[in-house]
């Protein structure tokens, strides 16, 4: 056996215990995002990955299109556009919400790495968000493909020249923050629950699906449900993206029988109202998410949940 060189230990440098602020945060985020992408993209069968990434959101849209066909026939073009856009965007929402929660479950149950990630000096929440970015990107890809399928095969009329790109960019940015915030809330829940929580993100997304005017106008809902929907940032995000991509299209928020019209007297919210309300509700949900995550984290530490494995 060869002799090992003995290093003379240096005196402890207290500076090592200090972080480097935003540089550490950025590095942690980028590293986690790269890790997330490697894990999502590490397919032995890329074709299967593609099929699953595309088939799921396309099938969701087709379900709704066929429901329309069955009842309204080919004439309900306006409503068909409404449904396709909502369905496409909802696929993106689902990916964003599920990404963070599944990262917690994956790391805790399958890879058993959660504790190591947690005790590293990088902020746990930043790492989690970074991990979720890959799935958000996949969701965005799915949404674009559904829109493309809608344009090519399902009669969705799209005029690039009519798009309000500035509004689209702003709404997407703010909405992304809201979606990530919802994902953080779900991740906080999954830190407390057991292995079978894989289905929880989809369950929550499905429930929100009812309230946000994704595939039918809010006016159809009872008034209390409409009020709940108006308090959610996703409602305003969907409305904003629809307005930006398909100006003049049907509003999910306004219209006859809607709470919005009863409150404001206007048929539908304008761009300013949409952006403003989106900002306000997104800020609210972000604050709630941050608080929920910290509470969950503390409880998880208190009860030793970070490195447990569950299973039934």
């Amino acid at each position: 056996m060869t002799a090992r060189a003995t290093a003379i230990p240096a005196a402890f440098d207290p500076g090592r215990a200090e972080g480097r602020g935003s540089a550490d945060t950025a590095r942690g985020f980028v590293t986690a995002a790269l890790l997330g992408w490697r894990m999502e993209a590490n397919w032995t069968d890329p074709l299967l990955f593609f099929i699953y990434s595309v088939a799921k959101p396309v099938a969701s849209a087709l379900i709704l299109v066929f429901m329309l066909e069955v009842i309204a026939g080919p004439g309900a073009r306006d409503l068909r556009s409404f449904v396709i856009v909502g369905s496409a965007l909802w696929a993106f929402v689902m990916s964003g919400m599920a990404g963070l929660a599944w990262s917690v479950l994956d790391d805790r149950e399958r890879y058993r790495m959660l504790k190591y990630v947690y005790v590293s000096p990088s902020d746990f929440l930043v790492l989690l968000v970074g991990r979720g970015v890959a799935r958000i990107a996949i969701g965005a890809m799915g949404a674009l493909i559904v829109l493309a399928v809608g344009v090519v095969f399902l009669g969705l009329r799209f005029d690039p020249g009519a798009v309000d790109w500035a509004m689209l960019g702003l709404v997407l940015l703010v909405g992304l923050a809201a979606i990530v915030a919802l994902g953080v809330i779900l991740a906080a829940v999954c830190m407390q629950t057991r292995q079978e929580s894989w289905s929880y993100p989809e369950a929550v997304a499905g429930a929100l699906f009812l309230l946000v005017g994704a595939v039918f106008p809010l006016a159809v809902l009872p008034l209390p449900a409409q009020a709940a929907g108006l308090a959610l940032p996703l409602t305003w995000w969907l409305e904003g993206v629809r307005m930006a991509l398909f100006p003049g299209g049907r509003s999910a928020i306004g219209g006859e029988g809607s709470l919005w019209t009863a409150w404001t007297g206007s048929a539908a919210p304008d761009g300013g109202a949409i952006v403003g309300t989106l900002l306000a509700t997104s800020l609210m949900i972000t604050l709630v998410a941050a608080a929920a995550f910290r509470v969950s984290e503390r409880r998880a530490k208190d009860r030793g949940l970070i490195d447990r494995t569950t299973g039934s």
């Binding site: 799921k56 379900i63 429901m67 009842i71 289905s199 929880y200 699906f209 039934s312």
Partner: protein, 292 residues
């Protein structure tokens, strides 16, 4: 005498020779044993009540409101409610059965099952029984609450056939789940994504929210191979007797026979697939994640 052991009664060879009765009883007990953690897990982690029942009910409600927005005839709301109820079983099949052996392998339990003297079919059946409790609860809530809240009226002429179709659908679904569980272990990492692929695409071709007959050839194909499609269509025809008009699909009696064939075929294939799985896993050493 140490409590660690008991006095040996015979020889190893005699102990290894189980008669049919003992084999049967051991397999029956393993069904109960494997169902045990599923059932008791429900009571220890009650969050499933919210996430597996209440929230999915809201998802079903969303589709109800789509039809309301379209001012669809009332039986279409019934379609959605019935579809939502059956979704519970489908999700249980693909998440808690098809993907389950893959999770067991990840956790290191799979090799313990294979090294035990009981049939893996018993273990899978135990998983199915355990999962049925959660999915039955969900289905019952969606059906009952949906019917009351949304005013769904069922018109059932043949209760016996309806119940028979329901149980045949479950048998076919869980047979399919058992078959898929072996495939998923063999396909490894892809299992996760196959599970995803088996949700919305299957909902679409099964006509979860609309009559599957409207899909034409695709619908006919679904009725032939997907238990959810054929079972749901048969149950709709029986639960809303006379309200549908021509569906473009076989009558419920024929669909019941299709379900019988599916149940038998899937269960038989599950057995074959498990044997193939075990043989391949023993040849290639894939039963455990740790041992390589």
């Amino acid at each position: 005498m140490s409590a660690l052991a008991r006095p040996a009664a015979g020889t190893p060879q005699a102990d290894a020779a189980w008669d049919r009765r003992r084999v049967f009883l051991a397999n029956l007990r393993s069904v109960g044993g494997r169902a045990y953690p599923r059932v008791h897990g429900l009571f220890r982690e009650p969050s499933w009540v919210l996430f597996e029942i209440l929230l999915p009910f809201l998802t079903t409600s969303a589709f109800v409101f789509v039809y309301r927005a379209l001012q669809a005839p009332p039986q279409y709301v019934g379609f959605v409610v019935l579809g939502g109820a059956m979704t519970a079983f489908w999700l249980n099949v693909i998440w808690m059965m098809a993907a389950q052996l893959y999770w067991e392998k990840d956790q290191g339990n799979l090799e313990l099952y294979f090294a035990s003297p009981v049939d893996m079919m018993s273990v899978l059946f135990g998983m199915a029984v355990g999962g049925l409790i959660m999915s039955s609860t969900r289905a019952a809530v969606v059906l009952a609450v949906g019917a009351v809240v949304y005013g769904v009226t069922f018109t059932v002429d043949q209760w016996g056939l309806l119940l028979l179709v329901f149980f045949l659908t479950l048998a076919a679904l869980y047979g399919l789940g058992m078959m898929l569980s072996s495939l998923f272990v063999l396909w490894g990492r892809e299992a996760w994504h196959l599970t995803q692929l088996l949700q919305e695409p299957v909902y679409f071709v099964s006509g979860l929210n609309f009559p599957v007959g409207r899909l034409g050839f695709l619908g006919a194909l679904a009725v032939a191979i997907i238990p959810l499609a054929v079972g749901l269509d048969a149950m709709r025809q029986l639960a809303f007797a006379g309200a549908l008009g021509p569906t473009g699909t076989p009558p419920p009696e024929i669909e019941a026979l299709i379900l019988v064939a599916m149940a038998v075929a899937f269960t038989w294939m599950a057995r074959v697939m498990l044997r193939i799985l075990e043989r391949l896993a023993r040849e290639k050493g894939r039963l455990s994640a740790r041992w390589r």
